[in-house]
Symmetry: C2
Subunit: 368 residues, 2 copies
Amino acid sequence: MEERPLTGIGPPGRIAAPGEGIGHDELALAARNHGLPLEAMRYEVTPAGLHYVLVHYDIPETAPDPDTWRLTLRGRLGTPLELGLRDLRALPSVTHRVTMECAGNGRARLSPRPVSQPWLVEAVGTAEWTGVPLRAVLAEAGVAPDAVEAVFTGADHGVERGVEQDYRRSLPLPVGEDVLLAHTMNGGPLPPQHGHPLRLVVPGWYGMAHVKWLRDIELVDTAFGGYQQATAYRYKQSAEEPGEPVTRIAPRALLIPPGFPDFMSRTRVVRPGPVRLAGRAWSGYGPVVRVELSTDGGNGWADAEVLPQGGHPYAWQGWHADWTALPGSHTLLVRATDASGRTQPLEQPWNRGGFGNNQVQAVSVVCR
Amino acid sequence: MEERPLTGIGPPGRIAAPGEGIGHDELALAARNHGLPLEAMRYEVTPAGLHYVLVHYDIPETAPDPDTWRLTLRGRLGTPLELGLRDLRALPSVTHRVTMECAGNGRARLSPRPVSQPWLVEAVGTAEWTGVPLRAVLAEAGVAPDAVEAVFTGADHGVERGVEQDYRRSLPLPVGEDVLLAHTMNGGPLPPQHGHPLRLVVPGWYGMAHVKWLRDIELVDTAFGGYQQATAYRYKQSAEEPGEPVTRIAPRALLIPPGFPDFMSRTRVVRPGPVRLAGRAWSGYGPVVRVELSTDGGNGWADAEVLPQGGHPYAWQGWHADWTALPGSHTLLVRATDASGRTQPLEQPWNRGGFGNNQVQAVSVVCR
């Protein structure tokens, strides 16, 4: 179905008042969706169930029957196509290890806070996605000369800021050669919450581009103006301005919190002496070339050792540094810089949707 | 290690002030841990990654090497034992389908709100657990006549309300014949967040009893007085009183929210006409014998059809009812009653830890 107004159902977009705590609406999203527990960065490939998940509406009931499920390709194509799961699995496939991050990661730390899914810092994960390069499928169908974008429609359906819609996003043509129609995650079928049976994977881009429960691709001759493209997922300062589109992932480094935690505050406790600090770093703009660590709250910085990409250009890179913990309270900060020169801010610039945040992470550690 | 004081690290237990929103500390727990998206109740057995998870400290790095990992059994036993994973897998095993719920489910709806993991209603899941009956292993080792409890220690380590500890709980002897040392979840190895490689499963009890990352069992001749047994997980009105232990799961029915949602409010939208309402119901005190549904906010109630347990005495039961939606706003309520006569309150009685809540669920639906 096309998008259509359905007003008066949910609240309009809003910014929290100064000092306003997280509300039940934000909490309901936080309880449904989930981040990566940061200690799980110890795994190069995130095990099932630990990778972050953001579902806008409901996880749809997707037909598990490979005989009836179809992906449709239509619009400005030489030959419209219908592909079943067996068709897709029979096509030559590739596997990419991809670090995916939600565009709203860090939103709940903004001041004032845009009211939406309230991520702190953990909306990330890395998986091995296997599927068919979209380019190959489009070449088979024949792209019309006047086609400018591909519009991807998922099976998830809901209302958002007064617009009833199937989740839908577009990419400009030609799509990157790394864009996949992924039918396999970490060697198995996609779990329901990750888009079973098929999702788009757009390496290097924030999560909103990786359309889950993909059921239709339409090639169009004008820029797609749907809700998720033209209204949401834009960098803006006010609701009225058109803003700039959210696309690739800004660089970020995260630390595996050392020692052990306090249950409620998540403050870390370490013993005096040598501590190996390690974590992951990534960017959608190229390899991470530098990770800096501060163990004194940002006064001094020292380079950590960054591991090479090792044949996985779309995945996070490991990094580590050695620290000698002395008794007292410490704030550890980490900062990544990528090959394009992009780095992480100490103070987060604000935008109304709360997108693209990559302020340096701060981890409180008490050494006893 | 034994429990020991480690004061001044985290905050003391506290109750939120009237009107106080969810804080960053509670949000950090909500972002790490996660509930069952309610539409996933459509699956009789919850797929991996959708089952609720609560981890007190960090997911520990448990040795995947079956040659080195050991479960130790010691204390008031005829023969102390060390069992490897191969030993456990070679013993006769059974499979139980078990509905598990967090003892703190519903805490965030309490007023005033105990500050801890802020669940709304979704901390539940059902899995097929395969493992060795604990009774058989204890019989092999020989239980001393003076043994009164078994103390179970997990590999997860942290600080909680000033007490440094490995997560540790006990059960009175003799343990139920249904208590398992589970090495398999839904037919595969346990995921890291569910206790890999071994967890205790205590059908019918709230989640705190199902010790994850189980590494040690000690039979003792006096009641265990550890933090998670004697301080936390007690029904109390004040911090000072000893309270009553949290044990079995109170009855609850949940509705799979009908129609489709608004992203932010989770309000449901349905079309006018017949709507099939369905969900799950469970109790740790016996089968659910009745599910009642109100479609007018609690004025009128009608019985739903409850499916029998079907050979799975520890798992939730399906239920369904037909409703004709008329244009307007509706509040749907569901209430379960079990064979022991226990049912769900309309107003939630309060306790300081926020445990054992089972107030009837209310789902807001707009029919357009």
